[in-house]
């Protein structure tokens, strides 16, 4: 299956072409259901599909969790109780760096999965480590932001708007931190267990999780930060 001459990213494209189920690329309309994917009356799906599918369902629920925190932020955005407004607490420079780190980590994460698909342990580990370091940089920058704000007396206890702000951004930060823990565990497992079936499934789920956090961050970046500084 694997061609060691290809760089990992090309390898991923090649595998997509070879995927009999054309997952995510099947198009619409009435094609015959593909066996092993749990479609129609073809019987149970393969383990990989089941794991990925279940994790998608979990991610949807996680996104609903974020939706609630977005909604509270939208409701409480003006409730500053005489404290600072959202436009006064945003440091666009730092947020730009945070965003760059996170988006880049998503890219390296995707590359790591291409290396995983090519069963290349070294590159998988290197790219996962890079992902983790970029994630760490993001968390550190965010913590710095929170500490800076706290030193100026801007804490969640000050007003409902700040509560909603720290709640939403903090929830994402906690997710990234948990993702980091997961990532470290996965790296240890890849090192000791190699690319067994369940490891491939877990790495796939980790990828989905990490990209989902990126998508949520785009929402936070837009709704919390960009709208704060837009005139």
């Amino acid at each position: 299956m694997t061609n060691p001459d290809f760089p990992a990213s090309l390898e991923a494209f090649r595998r997509r072409e070879e995927d009999p189920h054309k997952l995510g690329h099947r198009g619409h309309g009435s094609r015959p259901p593909s066996p092993g994917a749990g479609h129609g009356d073809t019987g149970p799906a393969r383990k990989r599909i089941i794991v990925g599918y279940g994790f998608w369902i979990f991610l949807l629920s996680d996104i609903i969790l974020f939706a609630c925190f977005f909604a509270t932020f939208a409701v409480l955005r003006g409730a500053t109780a005489g404290g600072p407004a959202i436009s006064q607490i945003v440091d666009t420079n730092r947020v730009a760096w945070e965003t760059a780190c996170l988006l880049l980590s998503s890219y390296t994460c995707g590359l790591s999965f291409a290396a995983t698909n090519a069963k290349n342990k070294l590159w998988t580990q290197i790219l996962l480590l890079l992902t983790g370091l970029l994630g760490l940089a993001f968390v550190v920058l965010e913590l710095q932001e929170f500490i800076d704000l706290a030193q100026r007396g801007i804490t969640p206890q000050r007003s409902a708007m700040l509560t909603a702000f720290f709640g939403l951004v903090g929830l994402h930060g906690v997710h990234v931190t948990i993702g980091g823990l997961w990532l470290a565990t996965m790296m240890a497992q890849v090192q000791f267990k190699g690319f067994r079936h369940e490891m491939m499934h877990r790495l796939m789920c980790f990828n989905l999780y990490w990209h989902a956090l990126d998508i949520v961050w785009i929402g936070i970046f837009t709704i919390v930060y960009l709208l704060a500084v837009s005139p």
Partner: protein, 670 residues
């Protein structure tokens, strides 16, 4: 060292909780001693506690739900008797205790009684009805169950150590904020419900994945039994609604623990946001409970009418219609908030429209019976009782959905009567119908019919005697949750209601008697065929109880009512299908990760409630370590050899052949 926890947390001066605590702790200790003396621990550990078999987990969910149902019923008895004694006086429960009781009653009945019972049926039946061997994620299934049990444990610990919330079953702020509820009651509520909510979410994800990705060959969506459809709709609602609960409780927790301002009435917080969020979960929750109950009835009516379900496709459509619209009605719980005429109109109309989907179902059930050969077995009695009860409950619901009428009945006893009318009438009746129906499948023997009929009639009559007066009292202006009653005119209604509770209590006793008598006479009531009711879906194709792998060979479904087709063919050709080729089966191995996680989660919850931070952190670390160890294991499945599979399945086929021969013989004789 121990945070807020000290000896004053034990209710030494309050006789009722103290005596209850002693009795409960005593009986728990008794059970533990019995299990130890009899040497049952290895069996329990191997076959139940660490089992990842969906059938075992389903039974444990059922047991938990039944226990909590009794606990919640004890609260109900206290509330009804207290109010009847509190006319013009103080009753026998002090206000702070009475408030805890009505809060605990609602929390326990919905989240730890009804919810585990509904999940019990989904867990047990969905894989069997889909013709597969387990759910998508068996180990997570175990984790989900044990987390729910952990939440139930915390709620019940509040009886012995500290107190429970005095805020009602949904802790509305600002009452539930630290300013007005400084004690640990609300914290018990928050952590117990949060933990069990995560467990429920895990199970929801699991069952959605199972239904959408793991159906046996030939089982297309429109060949699934209706129960699977309702389980799917219910679990989709779990996935969509439980994160809202998680978020809302997390926000209230932050308010209480860190002085944040989501819902406070200072610093710009917004208490009504809590009410909106919590009902955006709470209303779908009603349908999470009731849809599987509808599914149970939809299995029972065809079986006992000897006819396929009337309007299968319209039933599927109605189920999904209810699933979607149930997310759009939450504001009818607080029309009085003052959202304005336009908003109230929208939610009034959407609440009324949901009755259309339900109406379709009611007519389908009635038309299923029409022209059929109806057998009045116990499951059918509960189902027919349900139709009657639920229609009345639905109609009073439509009354409450009209905002101007709701302004008059908001928070009155009329409302209390209404929601008991639908939840008892549909969910509880559904659970008991399902219990009577599937008990022989689960345990291999039928339940005693006489005691079952007695239990049904007592519960049915008792229900109406209890709640009809509450409708009248509501219209007379009595509000809910009154600790003392100042209007002497309300006395007759409250007295009649107590009589009703007594009749229900007799029904509970009859139900327990039925269980005891049936276990005693189990050899007489044995179900040897695996198909005691002339069933129509795949679970009846297995032996009773089913083997741990469910199906020796995965069935190949050729139409709706999969098992009915197989049975017809056997009867027409006068023989079973030829013996299949048996192959080895891979089954997931047991795992202690569920009980391990739940143990440390319980400790974590308890430590958070009492502000014992170091224990909380230590238990989180331990839980994470447990997951890493679990992730490190190398063997996930064990193989059942083909000979073993063949041996078990041949025994099943032998009973089926014997049944066929008996039928032939009877036919020849007549």
């Amino acid at each position: 060292m121990f945070g807020k926890l000290d000896w004053s947390a034990i209710p030494l001066s309050q006789p009722i909780p103290l005596i209850t605590s002693i009795v409960v702790l005593g009986s728990m200790l008794g059970v533990l001693v019995l299990v130890t003396v009899k040497g049952w621990w290895p069996y329990l550990w191997r076959e139940w506690i660490t089992s990842v078999d969906h059938k075992r987990i389903g039974v444990m969910y059922g047991l938990l739900g039944m226990l909590m149902l009794i606990r919640g019923f004890a609260d109900a008895i206290m509330m009804r008797t207290h109010q009847a004694m509190a006319i013009g006086g103080g009753g026998y429960l002090p206000p702070e205790h009475y408030n805890q009781i009505f809060s605990a009653h609602g929390t326990i009945m919905i989240l730890f009684g009804a919810m585990p019972l509904v999940l019990a049926f989904m867990n047990y039946l969905v894989p069997l009805q889909l013709g597969v061997r387990d759910v998508a994620f068996p180990t997570f299934n175990s984790v989900g169950f044990w987390l729910t049990a952990s939440g139930a444990l915390l709620v019940n610990v509040s009886l012995f150590i500290g107190e429970f919330a005095r805020t009602g079953w949904l802790p509305y702020p600002p009452l539930s904020e630290t300013t007005y509820s400084p004690g640990v009651g609300v914290d018990y509520y928050l952590w117990a419900v949060q933990i069990s909510g995560v467990g429920t979410l895990i199970t929801g994800v699991n069952i959605v994945t199972t239904i959408l990705k793991m159906r046996c060959p030939g089982m297309s969506y429109l060949r699934m039994p209706i129960f699977c459809w309702t389980a799917l709709a219910s679990c989709l609602l779990i996935v969509a609604a439980f994160p809202i609960l998680t978020a809302t409780l997390a926000m209230l927790t932050l308010d209480r623990y860190l002085d944040w301002h989501y819902f406070t009435n200072t610093a710009g917080g917004n208490p009504m946001m809590f009410v909106n969020l919590v009902w955006a979960w709470g209303h779908p929750e009603v349908y999470i409970l009731v849809l599987p109950a509808f599914g149970i009835f939809s299995e029972i009516f065809p079986t006992f009418s000897g006819k396929p379900l009337f309007g299968y496709r319209s039933m599927v459509a109605a189920t999904l219609f209810i699933c979607i619209v149930s997310m759009l009605v939450w504001l009818h719980h607080f029309f009085t908030m003052g959202a304005g005429a336009a908003v109230n109109t929208f939610f009034g109309i959407s609440s009324s429209i949901i009755a259309v989907g339900t109406g379709v179902k009611i007519y389908n059930w009635i038309f299923t019976m029409y022209g059929g050969r109806v057998r009045f077995e116990v499951p059918m009695l509960w189902s027919m009782g349900f139709i009657f009860t639920f229609i009345i409950g639905g109609l009073t619901g439509v009354l409450l959905a009209i905002p101007p009428a709701d302004f008059l009945t908001h928070n009155s006893m009329f409302l209390v009567a209404h929601f008991h009318n639908v939840i008892v009438g549909a969910v509880v009746f559904g659970v008991f119908a399902g219990l009577e129906f599937w008990f022989p499948k689960v345990f291999g023997f039928r339940l005693h019919a006489g005691w079952g009929k007695a239990a049904f009639w007592l519960a049915f009559v008792g229900f109406w005697v209890t709640f009809t007066p509450l409708y009248v009292l509501g219209l007379q202006g009595m509000t809910r949750r009154l600790q003392h009653v100042n209007v002497p005119d309300w006395a007759p209604g409250l007295y009649i209601s107590v009589i009703g509770v007594a009749i229900i209590a007799l029904g509970v006793i009859a139900q327990i008697a039925q269980l005891v008598v049936s276990i005693r006479d189990r050899d007489k009531l044995r179900d040897v065929t695996g198909d005691p009711w002339d069933g129509r879906s795949l679970e009846w194709a297995t032996a009773s109880p089913p083997p741990f792998f469910n199906f020796a060979v995965m069935p190949n479904v050729e139409g709706e009512e999969a098992y009915w087709g197989i049975k017809r063919r056997a009867l027409e050709t006068q023989q079973l299908d030829p013996e299949p080729h048996y192959a080895p089966i891979e089954m997931p191995i047991n795992s202690a990760v569920g009980i391990y996680t739940a143990f440390f989660t319980s400790v974590f919850g308890f430590a958070m409630i009492w502000h014992i931070w170091w224990v909380a952190i230590a238990s989180l670390v331990a839980a994470f370590a447990g997951f890493v160890v679990f992730a490190w294991r190398d063997v996930h499945e064990h193989e059942v050899p083909a000979e073993e599979v063949a041996r078990i399945d041949r025994a099943r086929r032998a009973t089926r052949s014997a049944l066929l021969a008996r039928l032939q013989h009877e036919e020849a004789a007549s």
